[in-house]
């Protein structure tokens, strides 16, 4: 009798192994799937030999690699977002239509040209249209950057709400894993899914992950703000900042308590906060300072002068709320280029001309054109650095991903070989049963 049961246990074990192989082949392309292995051990009954059993189905996964992958996903998420936001910014800054340096040079060239005949209507019209073009460049650039601020702000709100959903899902999944583990069930698929979700969360910001063998999970932020403890899960929220319509502070709400988040939370969310605060905001501030100087200084020079009708000067520019405009009422003959009322006097023009080479303390003791060059240079260098960081972090991530895949991923040749081995072994066991049957018949026929 034991020959039957030994062979049957062998056939069953191989059938299980074949099922595991089938599962692996089926999931060869499933993202985050960890291959499984049936572990067998021989069993012995009261009278010795009793066959084989599948003692466990092991999920081939290395917690160290998984946590490294999460951590490198944080770094990758941050540098990826930073690089793409800077690349968008450098496209804006580099656009010909937004080249403030060209606009300023053009405007001052028109002013300089007018000194040859300050009374000339042609030159005066040119000053008006160059001034108009300059304001368009300013506002175009400022609007494009503000639009990016707005977009980052939308990204942040979207990310915060996605993250809250993700945290809920991780909590639900954790609860299920603990329940099934408690009743001795198979949690391999659930654990793969949970690891994927944690990795997705890690892309958003730095997460400390604490897992134990019972399936319990604790998550916290880099500075210790709790995200998930047992069944309690945190939600993220944003708090608007005074005077900064597009920026916001982040908070974690856990069990009715609020924990403010600092600036360096890492990941995509950290990159958004950084880009808003350290890239876009300073540029907008510089642009505002430049626009204010142009409007104040040019209008100031004109206010001291006299126009073609002998009246004192009307302002050429108006600056309000980050927007530089041309005084819509001003006519060419109202440009006050004369310092003493004489029509042929162009002293005011020379005063305005001198602004192009004046260092302004508001801009850090550089000229208007240099201020734009400085912005361009900073963005260019930052973007170059971000691209280099992205390349090296992508390399690092790919390397860790490769280590994880090479351990946990499916190799179809290996599965094909297993398929043959287990199928052969299954047949062999069946042969044993049939042999046992023949022996039994031989014995029966002896009577």
């Amino acid at each position: 009798m034991s020959m039957y049961s030994i062979a049957l246990s062998g056939a069953n074990a191989n059938r299980t192994s074949l099922n595991v192989t089938a599962q692996n082949i089926a999931n060869a392309d499933t993202v985050g799937y960890s291959r499984q292995q049936a572990t067998r051990s021989s069993i012995s009954g009261a009278n010795g030999l009793a066959g084989v059993e599948v003692s466990s189905i092991r999920r081939v996964a290395d917690e160290f690699l998984i946590s490294q992958l999460s951590a490198s996903n944080t770094v990758l998420g941050e540098s990826d977002y930073t690089a793409s936001s800077l690349s968008q910014l450098e496209n804006i800054i580099g656009a010909d239509g937004f080249n403030l340096s060209a606009g300023l040079t053009q405007f001052f060239a028109g002013i300089s040209e007018a000194t040859t005949a300050p009374e000339s209507n042609v030159f005066r019209q040119q000053v008006l249209s160059d001034g108009q073009a300059l304001t368009q460049r300013f506002n175009g650039l400022s609007n494009a950057i503000t639009a990016q601020q707005q977009q980052l702000s939308n990204d942040r709100e979207m990310t915060v709400s996605d993250t809250n959903g993700l945290l809920e899902n991780i909590a639900t999944s954790s609860k299920a894993i603990m329940n099934i583990k408690g009743s001795g069930g198979d949690t391999a698929t659930l654990e793969d899914e949970r690891d994927l979700m944690i990795s997705e969360l890690a892309k958003v910001f730095t997460v400390n992950v604490d897992k134990d063998s019972n399936g319990q999970l604790q998550l916290s932020m880099a500075n210790g703000q709790p995200l998930l403890i047992n069944a309690s899960v945190a939600t993220l929220s944003t708090k608007s900042l005074d005077g900064e319509p597009y920026q916001a502070a982040l908070e974690v709400n856990f069990n009715g308590q609020k924990f403010p988040l600092g600036d360096n939370i890492g990941g995509e969310l950290g990159a958004m906060q950084n880009a808003q605060k350290n890239d876009l905001q300073p540029i907008l501030a510089s642009l505002d300072a430049m626009a204010e100087i142009i409007s104040k200084e040019v209008n100031g020079a004109l206010a001291d002068g006299f126009d073609l009708n002998g009246k004192s000067g009307e302002p050429l520019f108006a600056y309000e709320g980050g927007s530089l405009t041309i005084n819509p009422l001003i006519q060419a003959n109202q440009l006050a280029f004369s310092s003493d009322g004489a029509l042929g006097n162009g002293d005011v023009l020379n005063k305005i001309s001198a602004l192009s080479s004046t260092d302004f303390s508001e801009l850090g003791n550089i000229t208007l054109s240099e201020a734009f060059s400085a912005i361009t240079g900073k963005i260019a260098i930052d973007s170059r650095q971000a691209q280099a960081d992205l390349a090296s972090n992508t390399g690092l991530f790919n390397q860790i991903q490769a280590s994880r895949d090479n351990l946990s991923g499916v190799n179809s040749d290996e599965e094909a070989a297993n398929l043959m081995t287990y199928a052969n072994a299954y047949e062999a066991n069946m042969k044993v049963i049939s042999t046992a049957n023949q022996m039994f018949n031989t014995i029966i026929s002896a009577f």
Binding site: D29, I93, A102, A109, T116, A380, R384, A402
Partner: protein, 293 residues
């Protein structure tokens, strides 16, 4: 080492997407003819280019201003020549008048010519430019400098107008009546006419007027010399600016322009690498133990 299917796929995808990115950058460089596709490609060159563009626009403007002043001075040159010619004619007339043997009729003939000359002078000093502005009024360009009686309009001035023709170089672009001492010329003509008309003829007064004429002639000649020197000065400045601009353009080209030979070589090697990767991948992925089952 154990290698999973997904690892192989990832290597292939990463490699191909990298090659594609590089190819697209190269294509962008080739169709624009510029090696800098975005400022971060070369931050230092990008900032330098902004400066070079600014320099070129400024140089263009300095050249434009110089040409405008030059044509203005050429206009002054023409008018000064008219005045010089007038003074030369007056000189001949006065020398003739100083000849004591002339009859009263001869002298009144000279007076007529001198009065005609005075009108020419007055018209010349009241010359206007293309803008309709009086060119000898200083900055009071709407005021005619001289009235019909040869009196200088008190509303005009001798103020100058400066225009930048280089970095830190500015040039006066107008010439006032004072420089030509118009008042002295008109006084001289009036004195001469009065002396010639007076009976008996006042030789000493005409002598005095002739002395004054010589001073005026001298004055006008030196103004002409001044105008000539300004025009030469402008020509030299324009030459320098043109050279500098050429140099700036060359620098700009060096920083910006793509070397097509280099780019097409690079393109060939990218394509070869991409094709090789794709073929290898296709072969590797067709190798499977499942094919033997």
């Amino acid at each position: 080492m154990r290698v999973s299917d997904s690892h192989l796929n990832n290597i292939m995808l990463t490699g191909m997407s990298k090659s594609n990115t590089e190819l697209s950058t190269l294509l962008q460089q080739m169709y624009s003819g510029e090696k800098i596709t975005k400022v971060s490609d070369d931050p230092v060159a990008s900032v330098k280019l902004l400066g070079l563009e600014k320099t070129q626009v400024e140089l263009d403007q300095y050249i434009n201003n110089s040409e405008a002043i030059k044509s203005e001075f050429q206009r002054y040159e023409g008018h000064t020549e008219t005045i010089e010619n007038g003074l030369q004619s007056a000189n001949e007339l006065l020398l003739w008048g100083l000849n004591g043997t002339l009859s009263d009729a001869d002298r009144s003939g000279i007076v007529i010519e001198l009065e005609a000359l005075k009108e020419t002078m007055q018209a010349t000093f009241n010359a206007k430019n293309g803008e309709g502005s009086y060119i000898f009024s200083g900055t009071a360009i709407d005021q005619p400098p001289v009235d019909s009686s040869g009196t200088i309009n008190p509303a005009i001035n001798s103020e100058t107008r400066e225009t930048a023709i280089g970095d830190g170089i500015s040039m006066t672009n107008n010439i006032s009546l004072e420089k030509l001492d118009a008042q002295a010329i008109f006084d001289m003509l009036d004195d001469s006419i009065a002396a010639l008309k007076s009976s008996p003829f006042e030789l000493t007064a005409l002598q005095g007027a002739h002395d004054s004429l010589l001073t005026s002639l001298n004055n006008v000649s030196s103004t002409q010399a001044y105008i000539g020197s300004q025009i030469n000065h402008i020509d030299r400045i324009v030459d320098t600016h043109s050279d500098t601009e050429l140099f700036a353009q060359k620098l700009e080209g060096d920083l910006k322009n793509l070397n097509y030979d280099e780019a097409s070589l690079k393109f060939d090697s990218f394509v070869t690498a991409l094709e090789a990767t794709q073929k290898t991948y296709a072969q590797i992925s067709s190798l499977s133990l499942f094919n033997q089952l």
